[in-house]
C-alpha cells in the first residue's frame, strides 16, 4: 500500500466516522456505534502490512479496521442503517460485520471474544500449513479479560501464526488505563507467555506497518505469535452520546495535536509525495463517496423477517431425511 493510498484510507475512516456521529446526532440511524477517530493509523498500518490471504479480526470499534482492510463503505453504511443491502443484512449493525472474501473475520460486540476466535483461525492455518497470518485486534480493556491470557498461552505453546495487536487508546469506555492496568505496559505481558512483545506509536502509520510486517514475517516463518501494543488515543467519545466526563478538554486538545491523519498529511506534503491540490481533490472524492453511501443506504430496502428466520441455522448437513419412520428404530 502506497503512502498516498494509506492517507486516502485514513481519510475515508475519519470522514466515515464523522458522518456516523452526525447521523446519530440527527437521529437518522438507531442503535449504537463506537467510532475510532484518532486511531486510523493503527487500522491502516496493520492492513498495509497484511497479505491478501491473511485474516483480520476486529472489535466493537471496528469500522476503521474493516475500511482499512478494504470494505465497501456503502455496504457498511447500509448495515448501520439497518438495511438488507448491509454486510449483515441489517442483523448485525455497527458492531457485527464480516466479509471473509477480503480476510475480514468480523467485528464483535463482546470485549475480547475475538481473541480465541482469531487464535482458532491461526490454528486452522497451522493445521493446513498455509501461509496465512491472523491479525487479532482488540483494545486495552480486552487485555484484562481472562480469555486474553488463555489464548496467548495456547498460541505460544502451539506456535500459532497470530499477531495479538492491542490498540491502547487510553480508555476502556470511561476507565482509564491508569485505573485498569496494574502494569501500564500491555506489551510486557508477552513475557509471561514467552513470546515477543513490542510497543509502537499507534499514531504513526509507517511505524505500525513496519512493526506488524516484521512480526507477520516471523509468524509466517513458523516462529509463532507476538503481542504488539499500539499506543493511540480515542479522540471521539466511547459511543454515541458520551459526555466524556472522565477526561479533560485540555487532555483532548493535547491529543488532537498528535492527530494521525494530520501527521501523515504533513509528512506527505513536506516530502512532496502529495500536493495540497491532490489532498483537496482526495477530500472531495471521499466526501462524495460517503454522501453516496448515505443516500444509497436511505433508499435501500429494509430486511425481511422470513429471510432472517430462515437463516438461524446453516442448512447444509449431509444427514437428511423426511421420513421419520426410517429413523424411529
Amino acid at each position: 500500500m502506497s503512502l498516498k493510498e494509506a492517507y486516502r484510507r485514513m481519510l475515508l475512516i475519519r470522514y466515515f466516522e464523522e458522518a456516523i456521529e452526525k447521523l446519530f446526532l440527527e437521529g437518522r440511524v438507531m442503535g449504537t456505534a463506537h467510532t475510532c477517530i484518532g486511531q486510523e493509523a493503527v487500522s491502516v498500518g496493520i492492513a498495509a502490512a497484511l497479505q491478501p490471504q491473511d485474516a483480520m479480526t476486529a472489535t466493537h470499534r471496528g469500522h476503521g479496521h474493516f475500511l482499512a482492510r478494504g470494505a465497501d463503505p456503502s455496504k457498511m453504511m447500509a448495515e448501520i442503517f439497518g438495511k438488507s443491502t448491509g454486510y449483515s443484512k441489517g442483523r448485525g449493525g455497527s458492531q457485527m460485520m464480516m466479509h471473509t472474501e477480503i480476510g475480514f473475520y468480523g467485528s464483535n460486540g463482546i470485549t475480547a471474544a475475538s481473541i480465541p476466535f482469531a487464535t482458532g483461525l491461526a490454528l486452522d492455518a497451522s493445521m493446513r500449513g498455509s501461509n496465512r497470518v491472523t491479525a487479532c485486534l482488540f483494545g486495552d480493556g480486552a487485555s484484562n479479560q481472562g480469555v486474553f491470557h488463555e489464548s496467548l498461552n495456547i498460541a505460544s505453546l502451539w506456535k500459532l501464526p497470530v499477531l495479538y495487536i492491542v490498540e491502547n487508546n487510553g480508555y476502556a469506555m470511561s476507565t482509564s488505563t491508569d485505573q485498569g492496568l496494574s502494569n501500564p505496559c500491555i506489551a510486557d505481558r508477552a513475557k509471561a507467555y514467552n513470546i515477543p512483545g513490542a510497543t509502537v506509536n499507534g499514531n504513526d502509520f509507517e511505524a505500525v506497518r513496519e512493526c506488524v510486517t516484521e512480526y507477520a514475517s516471523a509468524a509466517r516463518a513458523g516462529k509463532g505469535p507476538a503481542l504488539i501494543e499500539c499506543l493511540t488515543y480515542r479522540l471521539s467519545g466511547h459511543s454515541k452520546g458520551d459526555p466524556r466526563v472522565y477526561r479533560s478538554r485540555e487532555e483532548e486538545q493535547d491529543a488532537w495535536a498528535k492527530d494521525p491523519v494530520k501527521s501523515l498529511e504533513k509528512h506527505l506534503i513536506s516530502e512532496i509525495i502529495i500536493t495540497p491540490a491532490e489532498i483537496a481533490s482526495m477530500r472531495r472524492e471521499v466526501t462524495a463517496q460517503i454522501d453516496q453511501a448515505i443516500a444509497e443506504s436511505e433508499r435501500a430496502p429494509a430486511p425481511g423477517l422470513s429471510e432472517f428466520r430462515n437463516s438461524l441455522f446453516a442448512e447444509s448437513c449431509s444427514v437428511k431425511t423426511t421420513d421419520p419412520e426410517k429413523t424411529n428404530l
Binding site: 482458532g120 483461525l121 493445521m127 441455522f313 446453516a314
Partner: protein, 325 residues
C-alpha cells in the same frame, strides 16, 4: 451383534468420523495419553497424532473460542468439556459467538461440544449438574441428548457432519453401561426425531439422556400393575420433535416429563407449556413434571439420590397419574 459400552461406541464413532473426514479433529483436556477423563478418546492419540487429538491447557473459554475460529475457517472441531459443570466457562463463546454466526453473518460453524452431565456418582455440586437449560433458550445451538449407544453413535455422526454448533450430552452414568449394537456403526440419524421406546396408551412419559433409562425402568414396573406407559425418548432437545409428543398426548391424555436438572426453569417446563398450548383439550389432567429438587447436587450417596428423579419416584407419580379419576 456386539455387547459394548457407551464409552466404546463414542470412541469408535470419533475414530470413524476422523477417518472419514480429515477436517475432523479433537480438542480437550487430558484427551491424549490419559484418554479423556471418562476414557472416550483412549487410544486415539496413537492413531491420529497430537495434531488431531489436541490436548489443551485448562482454558475452557479459549478452547471453545479456538474451536469456533477453526470451524469458521473450515475445520470440524469436536471439543470435550470434562464435566458439564465446566461449560459455564464456555457460555460466552457458545452464546455470543457460535450461536450468532449464522443468524447474523451467515457463516457456518461446524462445531461439536461433547460433555457429560448428570449426578449419580457422588461427585458433588460442581461435577454433577445437568445444565442443558442454559442453552435451550439460545437460538442457534442444536442439542443432542442420547440415552443409549445406538443413538449416541448415530447422533454423534450427525452432529459432526452438521454445519452448526451442536451441544452433545453424554450422561456420565451411561458411559459404563453395555448395549447391544451391530458389528458396524449405525447410520447417522437426523436431528429432531424422537423415538418411542415403549408403546402404551395409559400415559405418556417424556425424557432425554439418562432419564430415558429411568423412564423405561419405571414403565416396566408400571406394566406389572397393568399400566401401559408410552415412553418418548427425545434424543434431541433442539430441534424438538413436538409433533410426536403432541400425537402421543392426544392419545393418552396424561403426561409426565422427567428432567434431571432442578424443576424450576428447566426444559420440562418448556415442553409442558407447548403441550398445554397445543393439546390442552386432550389432557385429562395437568401436565406433571418429575425433576430434580431446587438444590445443588449433594455428594453423600443417599442425599444425592433423594435430590434427583428415581425409578421409584417416577413409578409412583406415574401410577398416581394413570389411576386418577
Amino acid at each position: 451383534m456386539r455387547n459394548i459400552t457407551f464409552t466404546q461406541i463414542i470412541r469408535e464413532t470419533l475414530e470413524s468420523e476422523m477417518k472419514r473426514d480429515e477436517s475432523v479433529f479433537l480438542m480437550g483436556e487430558d484427551i491424549g495419553v490419559y484418554g479423556g477423563a471418562f476414557g472416550t478418546t483412549h487410544g486415539l492419540l496413537k492413531k491420529f497424532g497430537c495434531t488431531r487429538v489436541r490436548e489443551t491447557p485448562i482454558s475452557e473459554q479459549a478452547v471453545t473460542g479456538i474451536a469456533i475460529g477453526a470451524a469458521v475457517a473450515g475445520q470440524r472441531p469436536v471439543i470435550e468439556i470434562m464435566f458439564m459443570d465446566f461449560i459455564t466457562l464456555c457460555v460466552d463463546q457458545m452464546v455470543n459467538m457460535a450461536a450468532k454466526l449464522h443468524a447474523v453473518y451467515e457463516q457456518s460453524c461446524p462445531l461439536v461440544l461433547r460433555t457429560p452431565p448428570g449426578a449419580g456418582r457422588g461427585y458433588g455440586a460442581t461435577h454433577s449438574q445437568s445444565l442443558e437449560r442454559l442453552f435451550c433458550g439460545i437460538p442457534g445451538i442444536k442439542i443432542a441428548a442420547p440415552s443409549n449407544a445406538y443413538d449416541a453413535s448415530a447422533l454423534l455422526q450427525t452432529a459432526i457432519r452438521d454445519d452448526n454448533p451442536v451441544l452433545f450430552l453424554e450422561h456420565k452414568l451411561l458411559y459404563p453401561m453395555r448395549f447391544e449394537v451391530g458389528d458396524k456403526l449405525p447410520e447417522p440419524i437426523p436431528f429432531g426425531f424422537s423415538k418411542i421406546t415403549r408403546q402404551g396408551d395409559d400415559l405418556t412419559i417424556i425424557a432425554w439422556s439418562y432419564m430415558s433409562v429411568i423412564a423405561l425402568q419405571a414403565a416396566a414396573k408400571l406394566a406389572q400393575d397393568d399400566i401401559e406407559a408410552e415412553v418418548i425418548d427425545l434424543r434431541t432437545l433442539c430441534p424438538l420433535d413436538i409433533e410426536t409428543i403432541i400425537e402421543s398426548v392426544r392419545a393418552t391424555g396424561r403426561v409426565i416429563i422427567i428432567e434431571e436438572g432442578p424443576i424450576t426453569g428447566g426444559f420440562a417446563a418448556e415442553i409442558a407449556a407447548q403441550i398445554t398450548e397445543q393439546a390442552f383439550e386432550y389432557l385429562d389432567y395437568p401436565v406433571k413434571r418429575v425433576a430434580g429438587m431446587n438444590l445443588p447436587i449433594p455428594s453423600a450417596r443417599d442425599l444425592e439420590a433423594a435430590c434427583i428423579p428415581s425409578v421409584e419416584v417416577v413409578t409412583t407419580e406415574a401410577r398416581d397419574l394413570a389411576q386418577a379419576d
